[in-house]
Assembly symmetry: C2
């Protein structure tokens, strides 16, 4: 343990450092932690004595203090340690709940509608004791944040992931399709529309989805700004707007309910890279047998799913 390098270092020192970084002042950090300014002053003094370097630069006078470079490095590691403690807490809590404990899964609409039903049904028969709880969000970054702080055990996500203490497996490649009204002339076309044709169309887009931004910037490569006539994060709404003739939508196939007679799907021409859907978990957390089984089951379900759509 750190015994041999930084004897005397305590978590409370790192907590104080972090509070100072957040508040920009010893006094405010103190009140935010329920201490007095004097206590914080002494804690930082102790910390600096331990690490042997100044970690907070005090400009003097009524100016905000800031971390030195060493302080910033230290704070970064403090965040990592904090994350690890959160993971430990989540693990111990999960262990205390036992195998009957909840398995908390993050998901979003498209995955939820297509692969989750099958997955949950199969998993439920294999692990009847585990009760799965779902958390849905339109933005997978939000879900990953919950995974990071231990409030979710696994979560669907779009690959590549933002940086963080995560591990993930790729589940399936979800190609983009163009959703058009059923009667549209586009639906009868033989040649797929090119990227530059796509840019000309009135598009219905998402509001805050990370993948949607990527697709739009992809369209932008064609030279012109895509014309987004409406934004919604609800797949049903997007599809309904297309059916109503408001515009067309370039969306991952999984988000589409293909049985809707009011719309038709068109393969877009330009090579738009498919959306990669994965299943992610906390790198540093213990993988419970149930969670591991869920991941395996999800892979199996998605393999079948891809096989089916490829055959169709």
């Amino acid at each position: 343990m750190q015994t041999d390098r930084w004897p005397g270092l305590e978590l409370r020192h790192l907590i104080a450092l972090r509070a100072i970084a957040a508040e920009g002042s010893f006094g405010r950090a103190a009140t935010s932690l329920g201490y007095t300014q004097s206590a914080i002053s002494q804690q930082i003094a102790a910390l600096e004595r331990i690490v042997g370097t100044r970690v907070v630069s005090r400009p003097g006078g009524p100016r905000r203090v800031s971390l030195t470079e060493a302080g910033r490095v230290l704070q970064c590691h403090a965040e990592g340690i904090d994350a690890r403690l959160q993971a430990a807490y989540a693990d111990v809590a999960a262990l205390a709940a036992g195998s009957a404990g909840p398995l908390r899964v993050g998901t979003y609409q498209s995955v939820g509608a297509r692969v989750l039903p099958t997955l949950l049904r199969r998993f439920g028969t294999a692990w009847p004791d585990v009760d799965v709880s779902l958390t849905e969000s339109a933005d997978d970054g939000e879900l990953l944040a919950l995974v990071e702080c231990g409030e979710l055990d696994v979560s669907f996500c779009v690959l590549p992931m933002p940086a963080g203490p995560f591990e993930a497996v790729e589940l399936l490649r979800d190609p983009y399709v163009l959703v058009v009204p059923a009667g549209s002339p586009l639906a009868r076309r033989v040649r797929p529309p090119t990227l530059s044709e796509l840019v000309e169309l009135p598009l219905i887009g998402y509001r805050q989805c990370r993948t949607a931004l990527k697709v739009e910037s992809h369209l932008r490569v064609a030279g012109r700004e895509p014309r987004i006539v409406f934004r919604s994060d609800d797949n049903g709404t997007v599809q309904g707007l297309v059916a109503a003739g408001v515009g067309v939508a370039l969306v991952p196939r999984l988000t589409v309910d293909a049985s809707d007679p009011a719309i038709a799907l068109v393969e877009p021409g330009g090579q738009i890279p498919p959306r990669l859907i994965g299943l992610a978990w906390h790198r540093d957390r213990r993988r419970s047998p149930a969670a591991a089984a869920l991941v395996e089951e999800a892979r199996a379900v998605c393999r079948e799913f891809e096989g089916r759509t490829a055959a169709a």
Copy 2:
């Protein structure tokens, strides 16, 4: 910080837990930490009060204590936190040393002889202030352990790496070649020798190299046990033994000094996957500009190197 989940938790509790896991007894853990048994007893009691679960199972009587499952989970996270603290220490120490500080690089013989000279020469002219110190080992696991505890900044390694808090880039693919004595009939063969022919030959192997084991098990697939007539970890020795006619050696091309007139190189037939050489660093440590530059320079050097050998 953990303030909000486990108030009162201190590093010393985790240290005590770890000592108990290592020693198997409160008393021995106490003496190993310089405490009394009573103190350890109270620390574990406090820890269990904080996390809300028993973390050490005390069988009673003169039997070894052991960690409960929760305890083991906690200890695993404690190791991670310890590693993070070591990384923090290394980072702060490196920062204190300034840009003139040492850049400690782990390497092994073959890389050292072929790519390091060029790399160091170029890096030295670009970063004259940085003094690079080298640590050599025949086993890259040893080097990675030094990276993990912060005593090396970057290290060459063979991919895929053992698990650990590492990141790495692939530098080059190093194909295996068969080293035979210069006069050997093998050197004049047109068709490359097959795997099953290789197994028949007297082989000179390595002693403790992780990659060597992989190659030998690869040969074993051919059905028969390869006949290792001698083992050495020194590339020069291996090559000398081949030259002396003791046997032949199946080694990565980088380890061979091709200018030696006493030996000849033969392309082996069976598809032996090439050795992948990478450069690894600690995932959680700050990448100093010098270290990042070294990595980039190494990639450049190896790209050229591969181009040259591919052309030859």
